[in-house]
């Protein structure tokens, strides 16, 4: 086992899968340039060149359709978007065609297209470059949707996506890109719908999506210092959602905080809360708490932006309130991107 950064794990998974399957192609704006999509496609371009790694015109909608059409005759396209916000332009193809293909055409096989979208956070990226679209994508049957929060998961989920037969949307939070972790050398798939217990605990369950799984783990450190043992769960995929792992934890702790990188209304946190209410009501000793974005677009100005993104301290505070704990004077934590200097 070596330590790899999140972006290195994605790059390694891509190259290994492409070595194993000549039908995998990469397409995206600038995937072959010197930055190589924050490093994630550089390795593939160096290894396979222009015959399999394609810079493309600005045509998000058509590109999604082109990928579907290539997949329909045997290819496995991996389409990469430098920000998932651009994928709004491709949603007709993703929802109206890719997600429905297998069902709507009554076929044996679907179209194995993989869409990677990077989620921005902080450094003034603003309203149209810092959204997290997991709930939007996860609403529609027919897709697999995942948001890996560790280097190992970034690799394993991408391997799963590139080996499966279902269209997949993978959302990668840019704030996780420099995160380091143990990553196996072999390209071993991590199945969709299988969550991960980041740490065990008996007092309270924290379910965190994407970056918030990492932040929840940091929050659990602080809670631990005060004698509160939080169980931290990363669902890894939003569709399918591993309800079992959440309900098993809730059975044990009776308390639930859900943290998401997006808004509350109709979102991931609402979904998890609904699962708890419908299927784990008897376990609940206190109301569920959601930690989500304030109900406004992402601002740019630094103080506003700071107030906009939930931090580990937001999670700590919520847990203390749910537990009606008297604990005070917890220590502070650095922002996940405090050392980031930009520009993007």
């Amino acid at each position: 086992m070596r330590r790899l950064k999140y972006w290195q794990a994605i790059s390694e998974a891509t190259v290994q899968c492409m070595e194993g399957d000549p039908n995998i192609l990469i397409a995206g704006i600038g995937v072959d340039d010197h930055k190589g999509m924050f490093g994630t496609t550089r390795g593939a371009f160096q290894r396979f060149g222009r015959s399999r790694v394609f810079d493309i015109p600005n045509c998000e909608n058509a590109m999604a359709g082109i990928a579907i059409g290539a997949a329909a005759v045997g290819k496995r396209p991996l389409v990469v978007h430098p920000r998932n916000d651009f994928m709004f332009l491709a949603m007709d193809q993703i929802f109206n065609l890719a997600a429905k293909w297998k069902y709507m055409y009554g076929t044996q096989a679907g179209v194995p297209v993989v869409f990677r979208g990077i989620v921005g956070r902080g450094w003034g990226q603003g309203a149209t470059h810092s959204q997290s679209l997991q709930a939007t994508f996860a609403h529609f049957p027919g897709l697999h949707v995942a948001a890996p929060a560790s280097p190992a998961d970034a690799k394993g989920l991408l391997v799963s996506a590139l080996q499966g037969s279902t269209p997949v949307v993978l959302l990668e939070n840019r704030a996780l890109y420099e995160l380091e972790g143990d990553v196996a050398e072999a390209p071993t798939p991590i199945p969709f719908g299988q969550g991960r217990i980041i740490r065990e605990g008996n007092d309270i369950t924290i379910v965190g999506a994407s970056l918030m799984a990492y932040e929840a783990d940091r929050a659990a450190d602080i809670l631990g210092e005060k004698g509160i043992r939080a169980e931290v769960i990363d669902p890894r995929s939003m569709r399918p959602l591993d309800e079992r792992i959440i309900l098993d934890s809730l059975r044990k702790t009776g308390h639930l905080v859900v943290a998401d990188t997006s808004w509350a209304a109709y979102g991931f946190a609402a979904e998890v809360a609904a699962v708890a209410a419908e299927k784990g009501f008897a376990f609940l000793k206190a109301p569920v708490r959601r930690i989500t974005l304030p109900d406004c677009p992402a601002p740019v100005s630094e103080p506003l932006e700071k107030a906009f993104h939930p931090s580990p301290m937001t999670i700590v505070q919520a847990c203390l309130e749910v537990l009606q704990s008297e604990v005070s004077s917890v220590r502070g934590l650095r922002d996940v991107q405090e050392r980031f200097t930009g520009p993007y």
Binding site: P57, A62, A64, G65, I66, A72, D92, T107
Partner: protein, 322 residues
């Protein structure tokens, strides 16, 4: 390249089969047993048959909402279409897709879809895959004059031209998008086929009600695509006789005149060709009558089989989502 007697008779018979089926379906549609919004191609058969007859079995086609003629012309089984309209498991999409989502992989009908312009890009994608594999296969995108206004049309032509992929774009210009005429949708003074030239595509306009002309033009276009020279664009001028969606006539609805409909009906592609063949002595009244009878028998049989076939099992409602 001339057209052989065998080819021209086959073109006529192909159109006749589509016309007979759709007229029968339009009649039966009113029994309320086929419950799926249906866009009939009656009057537009020549483009579908002319194009598909110039393709090989391994070539693939994509279509839009008005897709029955394309599906049949490319070789999609008749029972698959009829069964789909009746919502039966025997339908080409097993009763999950309906009239606008036809498919038959075996004959190269990959997909049709109800979202305007959507499958233009998908056809480009299949053609892109063919060119990456150095295959001889060609992909065809059928769409109407309405789809030309969508952004995806332009994105797709740009990509296809850039990568020189073997795709044939076929625009069936029937002058209306639902009930809106070209005049309220596109600026005057520019023809649709001319837009393709802006992307450096070779492009031609043909009489879409002249099946021989469409067939000839497609043979040349497909040869161009197959030889690795890139995409090609054909515009066929044609006309839909019935209402936009549904089996009825609608010349009294106010958006077009009865005189206009009748003018186009006088240019019926089937009437035109059969009169010419009779004149030239290439077929007889008796032969035409026999064809009609054979086709009607095939249709009647398909309807009986479809209606006596089982509906999909409700236990299988979720099956196929993943």
């Amino acid at each position: 390249m001339g057209i052989s007697k065998e080819e021209i008779l086959s073109l006529l018979r192909g159109m006749l089969r589509i016309r007979c089926l759709e007229e029968t379906l339009a009649e039966r549609y009113q029994e309320q047993e086929m419950q799926t919004p249906t866009h009939f191609s009656i009057g537009q058969e020549a483009t579908a048959v002319g194009v598909c007859s110039a393709l090989e079995q391994q070539d693939v086609i994509y279509s839009g909402h008005r897709c029955h003629a394309h599906y049949l012309a490319k070789g999609g089984p008749l029972l698959g279409l009829v069964g789909e309209l009746y919502g039966r498991e025997v339908g080409c999409a097993r009763g999950r897709g309906g009239s606008v989502h036809l498919t038959d992989a075996g004959s190269g009908v990959i997909a049709s879809s109800a979202i305007l312009g959507q499958t233009i890009a998908v056809a480009v994608g299949s053609a892109w895959a063919f060119s990456l594999d150095h295959s001889r296969r060609v992909a065809v995108a059928f769409f109407g004059d309405g789809a030309v206004e969508e952004g995806i049309f332009h994105e797709s032509l740009n990509f296809a031209a850039l990568h020189k992929v073997p795709v044939l774009f076929v625009c069936e210009n029937n002058l209306y998008s639902t009930h809106s005429s070209l005049a309220v949708r596109q600026p005057a003074g520019i023809q649709i086929y001319e837009r393709a030239r802006a992307y450096s595509l070779p492009s031609r306009q043909v009489d879409g009600n002249d099946v021989a002309a469409v067939f000839q033009a497609t043979r040349e276009a497909v040869e161009w695509c197959r030889s690795g020279r890139g995409p090609y664009f054909l515009e066929g001028l044609t006309y839909r006789w019935r209402e936009h969606v549904g089996p009825l006539w609608d010349y009294d609805a106010g958006y077009r005149t009865k005189a206009e409909v009748e003018e186009w009906m006088a240019r019926c592609p089937i009437k035109r060709l059969s009169e010419q063949l009779l004149r030239d002595g290439l077929c007889s009244e008796g032969e035409l009558r026999r064809w009609r009878e054979e086709i009607q028998q095939e249709i009647a049989h398909a309807i009986v089989v479809a209606k006596s076939s089982p509906f999909p099992s409700v236990q299988c409602l979720l099956e196929g989502t993943y």
